[in-house]
Amino acid sequence: MIIVENLHKSFGDAEILKGISTSFEKGKTNLIIGQSGSGKTVFLKCLLGLFTYEEGSISYDGKIFSKLSEDQKRDLRAEIGMVFQGSALFDSMTIAENVMFPLRMFTKMSKSEMEDRADFVLKRVNLPDAHLKMPSEASGGMQKRVAIARAIVNNPKYLFCDEPNSGLDPKTAIVIDNLIQEITDEYQITTVINSHDMNSVMEIGEKIVFLKNGLKAWEGSNKTIFKTDNESVTDFVYSSNLFKKVRQMYLEENE
């Protein structure tokens, strides 16, 4: 479980995060949503330790990140898997080498053990025959799946995804969403997804944190988001006519 308390982050005079407090539970897909410029990416990078923050704390299962030594931070990071928006695969390595990379860096596994593990996770993300391809030869959806495979290969306790559906067609986006949710449930990972994809919100948002202007404006789940009367959330989530109709139908059915 990740607990965030009163997180403040500024760049010069611009205060991006203005005191966010929330928690992300183990075994659940936690979504951070909000408009562009709401502070989602900065929040995620603070969670990952890529940005330092002026005030507040982030604790990972009781370990407060800012109070850890450099060695302890390195150990904690070895328990984190990350899926970047652009996949961030190492383009000088094959897909199998990309997936084995965390194992090469952090374990004492033999080559055959690493290959077996890479086989297993690549099969898990439905890419059983992609081992020898270079990332540039893979489609956007395949690259995302490889990124997920690399993120989970070392059995992480925490999985972070930065807009995993961006640039994907709706069908592939649903496949990626479902894959992340299945993996989260199967391995009981604390998953945090940064998204503004409304399908993801409805499909896999077991916990949703809505950010607006650097503040947490609302939190709930894909069940409660239909019933909320928070104007900021309804303006954002139900901005399209399709989603307005979906919400209306849901509310009528559940009256």
Binding site: L50, D75, R77, A78, M82, F84, A88, D91, M105, F160
Partner: protein, 245 residues
């Protein structure tokens, strides 16, 4: 003020590069790959440039010796001194600032743009040690490439001399042997080691700390070439003053 900030950041980068080393099995592979990319891959251009620059130096020297009282073996002597003292270590390093430097800046800069460096950092890997340290070690073999350059420069001079009919082979070889000071070779290799460090770290700095997209990668490569060349020229002046002055 920005220059001072960048100079400070450069030295912090170098200090950080030696912290939190990457696993040796991985580092060994990275070093061997960088030796292949940076040294082996540059041998062809170094050989080509050295051979023909050596030839040009010889021809220029021979054509400028008009006084019959000046011995013809001076052509070999001048070629040896020019090639060993300046052309092989300094001239080649400027060329390498373009070839190797651009390669380093663009490869690290592209990794920055595509979040590959963030991916390394999130995994708890010291990205500076992972990316810059192997290049620095690989370029410690750069003096061997320069030694080949020296040999080929003198050989190119000999070919130009003999086949161009500027002086005899015996005179040229006599010139090569005249007043030979082994310290000049030592001086040249010390310079080369310093230039190798500059060639590895300044382009890495510009790639690692770049911001923006693909266009900025190109700009960073150009800036890296300019600054690497400037620093090489300045260090050449300082080292020459210290060691030969």
């Amino acid at each position: 003020m920005r220059y001072l900030h960048n100079i400070g950041l450069y030295f912090l980068m170098i200090a950080e590069m030696f912290r939190k080393p990457t696993k040796w099995q991985v580092m060994r592979t990275l070093i061997l790959k960088d030796i292949d990319d940076l040294i082996i891959g540059s041998l062809g251009i170094i050989a080509f440039i050295s051979f023909f620059v050596g030839g040009v130096v010889t021809i220029q020297t021979a054509l400028n010796i008009e006084n019959p009282l000046i011995p013809r073996y001076l052509v070999g002597f001048a070629t040896r001194q020019s090639v060993i003292l300046e052309f092989a270590p300094t001239f080649t390093s400027i060329i390498m600032a373009g070839k190797v430097g651009s390669f380093i800046t663009s490869s690290i800069g592209t990794m920055r743009v595509t979040e590959q460096i963030d991916a390394l950092e999130v995994m708890g890997i010291n990205s500076l040690n992972y990316l810059v340290f192997p290049k620095t070690i690989a370029l410690m073999l750069y003096p061997f490439a320069i030694a080949i350059g020296m040999f080929l420069g003198i050989l190119g001079g000999m070919a130009a001399c003999v086949f161009g009919g500027y002086t005899s082979l015996e005179d040229y070889i006599l010139g090569l042997q005249t007043d030979f000071d082994a310290f000049h070779v030592t001086y040249s290799f010390i310079k080369t080691y310093v230039f190798a460090f500059v060639l590895a770290t300044i382009p890495s700095f510009h790639g690692y700390y770049m911001k923006g997209g693909a266009l900025e990668v190109g700009k960073a490569s150009t800036t890296a070439f300019v600054w690497t060349s400037v620093v090489i020229i300045l260090l050449n002046y300082i080292l020459t003053g210290i060691m030969l002055g």
